[in-house]
Amino acid sequence: MNRLEKLAFWKRPIPDEWRSRTFWKDTAWAYIYLAPALIILAIFTFYPFFSAFRLSLYKVSFTNFPGTYIGFDHFRYIFHDRYFWNALWHTLYIVGISVPVTLFLALLVASLLNKSLRFRTFARTSFFLSYITPMVAVIMVWRLMYNESYGLLNYFLSFFGVKPIAWLNDARYALPAVIVLNVWRYVGYQAIILLAGMQGIDQMYYEAARIDGASGFQVWKKITVPLLTPQIFFLLIISMIGSFKIFTEVFVLFNGPGPVRSAETLVFYIMRQGFFGTPHYGRAAAASIILFAIIFLVTLIQMQVAKRRVHYQ
């Protein structure tokens, strides 16, 4: 049976359970239970999602909504806008560095937390704190730490003879400042997920390795990491999507897109089109769709890779 034949549901025989009244009754109840969640999803997720597609084709007028149909003009504008390409580059830069670095550090932290350390519970809680603290509060604290004149970071660097660095006021340091904050915030969360994965690995693999004389690093490399690939894959997708959508960190750290727009990300660009200056809702919607397409594409690639690399047993 080829793929097309598999899809031709009308040619398939009617399943036996369809003839049962109980089946239809159970199905109806299932939908009734699901209805509240589906209604909320439909109103707050699906409708805005499809509305964005529609709006992206209009020059939006507030007094005559949705305005004038202009086809793909917004997309053409965006692809010719230097700020869009800057924002895309900044976003890719953040994703490219922040995602692997966070994951690597989380793996190290999780491996340490998996050992029989003293104060292990305290250490686990401490690492998770950065994730559960409200983001704006965290960023405000980092703003103080990054302060050129009285920040903690420059204070420590001064012990090594480093002159004060304008972390938030110098285009060269703007993106690194965002990345450091982002890594710090998510290492704890990712470490806890990986730790849970580590504790689910069957001890028999470790025992077998020990009998075979494997060293600690070999066990970690050949057993722990491969058997953690489902969690690593999950974190990779989640953190990649999160990093593509980075906005609050930039907005709160810099009160804007950073010096000379050096930290403007794609979501900041979208916000700027829609809500700062002259509001261009259609253009913002078009930029959102482009961001969606990028994330969708990267996720698809990751899933293809995962088919070969993720080991569940």
Partner: protein, 403 residues
């Protein structure tokens, strides 16, 4: 039977009349959206209380809507949803997007009343009227700058003299001036206006920023960069780190109290002049939405006119840090008293007389927030030369001329 019918009829009529009387007596509520800080709300409440005492049956409800950006989003959303407030404040460059939803106010004002509004603040055809307006003035720390500069040359010299590394560690401890090029391109626009320059020509069909006056203003602006602290932070939050700054007069209370807290004396002065004295006007207007019951519209218009009375605009300006928006307001007793007791006010009054309003081009929001902010940021941070940054900016402004 007839008795019963008559009785039911009488009771129904009575109930109907009672209902109508109750409706007639129901106060008209005017929803007024704003974004004033908590410290200014008592003064708004006071204005409303005076108006309500004069106009029984009208209730002014001030509704805080968050930041200016949040206010703009909510106004636009309200217009789309058809659920507009009675009136609101907004920046002039927000108006083109919602113009059709606004009630033109001109028919409600006499020619004398229109003539009394400061001409620099008057929106075309009085579609909206000014409310909270301020002007850019020079703040200077008297401990570092005993006499404020009056010309560009003096300003430059003082910037150079006040950029100092006091402890000799190779790090500048104080800058001559402070600039916020991304957040406040109006600092540059003041220089542009002082040099008789402009962004667009009078009929807004041509970009004039790249002409001789514009280039000269940008070059002067760039020459200040080595002697300026360039930042996105509020300058008064780092008092003492800069000796002078061009900033809005509405910020005077913050500057003065920050300086006092640091044991310094901050004063205001008119901006240094070049070809002419000029400064940029800041602040918002009042508009009334037409899609409201007539009673609400009438009440909103009455309240708008009330706010423009000399003693009211004078009071609001005196307590809030803004400026009176009418000529008679500038002569009001309350404003005169303010002038005699607050020496930061004289500079504002002087500058308001030569105030320049922001461009009313429908795309000015983009011109300011996308092009001018980037131009100023690139020049002050030295990431581009004046010529390179200006060439790109002019091209981008030209692309925004059509709307």
């Amino acid at each position: 039977m007839l008795r019963k019918v008559i009785l039911v009829g009488l009771v129904s009529t009575l109930m109907l009349l009672t209902g109508l009387v109750a409706m007639a007596q129901e106060p008209v509520t005017v929803e007024f959206w704003h974004r004033f800080s908590e410290s200014r709300v008592p003064y708004l409440e006071q204005l409303a209380a005076w108006f309500e005492a004069e106009n029984p049956g009208i209730d002014i409800e001030w509704i805080y809507q968050g930041s200016y950006s949040a206010l703009q989003q909510k106004i636009n959303g309200a217009v789309v949803a058809g659920e507009v407030p009675t009136m609101t404040i907004f920046y002039e460059n927000w108006i083109p997007a919602i113009e059709d939803a606004l009630l033109p106010l001109a028919p409600y004002f006499s020619a004398e009343e229109i003539a009394d509004i400061n001409p620099a603040l008057l929106y075309p055809d009085a579609l909206t009227v000014p409310f909270n307006k301020s002007i850019m003035v020079l703040y200077y720390i008297e401990d570092y700058v005993p006499e404020p500069p009056t010309t560009w040359e003096e300003f430059y010299d003082l910037c150079v003299a006040n950029t100092v590394d006091e402890d000799g560690d190779g790090v500048i401890d104080r800058y001559g001036a402070g600039f916020r090029p991304y957040a406040n391109p109006e600092q540059f626009l003041c220089l542009l206006a002082q040099n008789n320059g402009s962004i667009l020509n009078d009929d807004m069909t041509e970009v004039t920023l790249g002409n001789e006056a514009g280039v000269e203003a940008l070059e002067f602006y760039a020459s200040l960069a080595p002697y300026s602290w360039v930042t996105s932070e509020y300058l008064n939050n780092n008092i003492g780190y800069v000796a002078m700054a061009i900033d809005t007069s509405a910020g005077a209370p913050y500057w003065i109290s920050a300086a006092e807290g640091a044991g310094l004396t901050c004063k205001t002065a008119p901006l240094p002049a070049k070809e002419t004295a000029a400064s940029m006007i800041q602040g918002t207007n009042i508009g009334v939405f037409r899609d409201n019951p007539q009673a609400e519209i009438d009440a909103a218009v009455a309240f708008t006119k009330f706010l423009l009375r000399p003693e009211m605009t004078g009071y609001w300006a005196a307590v809030s840090g803004y400026m009176p928006v009418t000529l008679s307001g500038l002569d009001s007793a309350v404003w005169k008293y303010k002038e005699s007791t607050d020496d930061t006010v004289a500079a504002s009054t002087t500058m308001m007389a030569v105030g320049v309003a922001q461009s009313l081009h429908p795309n000015y929001g983009d011109m300011r927030d996308n092009v001018l902010t980037t131009l100023c940021d690139e020049i002050m941070r030295g990431s581009k030369t004046v010529a390179d940054a200006l060439a790109v900016a002019v091209a981008e402004l030209e692309a925004l001329l059509d709307y």
